[in-house]
C-alpha cells in the first residue's frame, strides 16, 4: 500500500491525549494483525432510521442500510464486531409498524458477514414504549461485554422518554465500574451525548453529568455515540467523546442554522455527510484510531 504510517506511533499518541485520527487512508485495515493480541478493530454504525421517508433528505432511504451492510462486508479486514449505536428504526406511533421495521432491520443486517453484532436503542426505537419492542428483537437496553482486554459498557439514555439514564442504571454503572481497576481500558457506547453538547437542540442527556462523574476517576475511558448525525469529537476532562455519522441523513453542526433539520440530499454528491466508522483499538494503550468510511466508494 502507498499509505505508510507508523501505526504504533499513532496509537501511542491516541493513548496519551485521546487524539483522533480520522483519515481517508485506505490501507490501514489491510495491515496484518500484529503479534500483539491486544489489538482489534470494530465497526460503529449509527442512526440508520429504517422506515424513514423523506426524499429531500434521502431519496435512497430504502437502500442506504443495505449499501452500508455491503460496505462493511467489503472491508479489507473483517472487524471483530459491529455495533449499532441506536435509532436503528425510525419512530412510529403504531406498535405493529414499529415491530415490522425492527424485523426488516434485523433481516437486512443479518447479511453482515460478521458474527458478533451488537445493538443499542435510540429514542426512535425505544422512547414511545420504553423499549418494549426493542427488547423483543434486540435484547437488553444496557449491558456490558469484554473484548480483548477492553471493557465495553452500553448505556441506555433513550428508553426513558425524558432522555435520562435514571437512578437504577446509574447505580448499575457505579457497581460495574467499582469492580474495575482505575486504569482499565473502558469504552462507553451510548446513543445521545452524555455531555451537554448543545442543549438548545436537546443534544444532551438529562443526567449525563452523573455518568461522566462516575467515569472520571477511571483513567482510560472513551465514549462512542450517535444521535447528532455527524462526526464530532469532544473532551470532558480526559474522556474523549466521538459522535458517529448517520446512515440516513446528516444534521448540521450545532447552532449553525436556526432550526435543526436534515441537511438536504445533494444529487451531485450522494451520501455526502453519511457513513460509518472503523475503530482500531489498542487495549494496552487504551488508544483508538478512528477511520471514517463512506457509504459508497467515491
Amino acid at each position: 500500500m502507498d499509505h505508510k504510517i507508523d501505526r504504533r506511533d499513532f496509537l501511542k499518541l491516541a493513548g496519551l491525549g485521546g487524539a483522533v485520527f480520522a483519515s481517508g487512508l485506505s490501507g490501514w485495515a489491510q495491515a496484518a494483525k500484529s503479534a500483539g493480541a491486544q489489538e482489534f478493530y470494530f465497526v460503529q454504525l449509527s442512526d440508520t432510521h429504517w422506515g424513514f421517508k423523506g426524499p429531500k433528505a434521502n431519496p435512497d432511504a430504502a437502500n442506504t442500510l443495505k449499501k452500508a451492510v455491503a460496505a462493511v462486508n467489503s472491508l479489507e479486514r473483517k472487524p471483530d464486531f459491529v455495533v449499532f449505536t441506536g435509532d436503528l428504526t425510525h419512530t412510529t406511533d403504531d406498535p405493529k409498524i414499529r415491530r415490522a421495521r425492527m424485523a426488516e432491520f434485523r433481516d437486512i443486517v443479518s447479511a453482515l458477514n460478521v458474527k458478533d453484532v451488537r445493538f443499542m436503542p435510540g429514542e426512535h426505537d425505544a422512547s414511545l414504549d420504553r423499549g418494549e419492542a426493542y427488547q423483543e428483537f434486540f435484547g437488553k437496553l444496557n449491558y456490558t461485554f469484554d473484548h480483548q482486554g477492553v471493557h465495553f459498557i452500553a448505556l441506555d439514555n433513550v428508553s426513558d422518554p425524558k432522555a435520562a439514564l435514571g437512578e437504577a442504571q446509574l447505580a448499575w454503572l457505579k457497581q460495574d465500574l467499582d469492580q474495575k481497576r482505575k486504569d482499565a481500558p473502558i469504552v462507553v457506547l451510548t446513543h445521545r451525548p452524555l455531555f451537554a453538547l448543545y442543549p438548545q437542540w436537546d443534544w444532551a442527556t438529562r443526567d449525563g453529568a452523573v455518568a461522566i462523574d462516575l467515569l472520571l476517576p477511571h483513567k482510560n475511558v472513551t465514549v462512542f455515540y450517535g444521535h447528532i448525525h455527524q462526526e464530532h469529537h469532544h473532551m470532558t476532562g480526559h474522556i474523549a467523546h466521538h459522535a458517529a455519522k448517520s446512515l440516513i441523513f446528516p444534521l448540521p453542526p450545532a447552532g449553525s442554522v436556526p432550526k435543526r433539520g436534515p441537511v438536504p440530499w445533494d444529487a451531485n454528491a450522494p451520501y455526502k455527510g453519511m457513513g460509518f466508522r472503523a475503530v482500531e483499538a489498542d487495549a494496552e494503550k487504551a488508544g483508538y484510531r478512528i477511520d471514517e468510511r463512506p457509504v459508497v466508494k467515491g
Binding site: 425510525h90 419512530t91 412510529t92 406511533d93 429514542e123 422512547s127 414511545l128 433513550v158 422518554p161 425524558k162 432522555a163 442543549p199 438548545q200 437542540w201 436537546d202 438529562r206 432550526k259 435543526r260 433539520g261
Partner: protein, 121 residues
C-alpha cells in the same frame, strides 16, 4: 434567578381554586401570565415575547399526551401534562432570541416541536 415549579397537585388545586373564584385564568400573582398549550407536534405559540427584568408566569399544559417545555438559556424546564397546568415563574435577565423545545420524545415530529422566546429591553 429563582424558579418555582409547583407540584402538579398543588398547581391543579390552585388552578381550580382560582378558576372557581374568578372564572378567569388569572394566577395568584401580579406577574403577567402566558399560557402555552402543547400537542403533537407543536405549541400553540411559536413565539413568546417578554420584557427583560419583568417577571412572568408561564402556564404550561398539553392537549394530548405528555410533552416537555425546555428553555435551556434560562435553565427552565417543565412537563406539559394533559389536564394539568404547570406554572413556572421567572424573570428574563438577558435580551435576545432563545429557543424552547419539547424535551420528552413524543413521536415522528418531536424534533421540530418548539419555538422562540424573544426578550426585549
Amino acid at each position: 434567578m429563582r424558579t418555582t415549579i409547583h407540584r402538579w397537585w398543588a398547581t391543579l388545586f390552585l388552578w381550580v381554586a382560582v378558576l372557581g373564584m374568578t372564572g378567569t385564568p388569572a394566577a395568584a400573582t401580579d406577574a403577567p401570565v402566558i399560557r402555552l398549550t402543547a400537542k403533537k407536534f407543536e405549541y400553540d405559540r411559536r413565539e413568546i415575547v417578554l420584557k427583560k427584568g419583568v417577571p412572568v408566569v408561564l402556564e404550561i399544559t398539553s392537549l394530548d399526551r405528555m410533552h416537555g417545555f425546555n428553555l435551556p438559556d434560562f435553565n427552565l424546564r417543565a412537563d406539559a401534562v394533559p389536564g394539568v397546568v404547570t406554572r413556572i415563574r421567572f424573570t428574563p435577565d438577558k435580551t435576545g432570541r432563545f429557543v424552547f423545545f419539547c424535551d420528552i420524545f413524543c413521536g415522528d415530529g418531536h424534533e421540530t416541536m418548539g419555538g422562540t422566546v424573544i426578550v426585549k429591553d
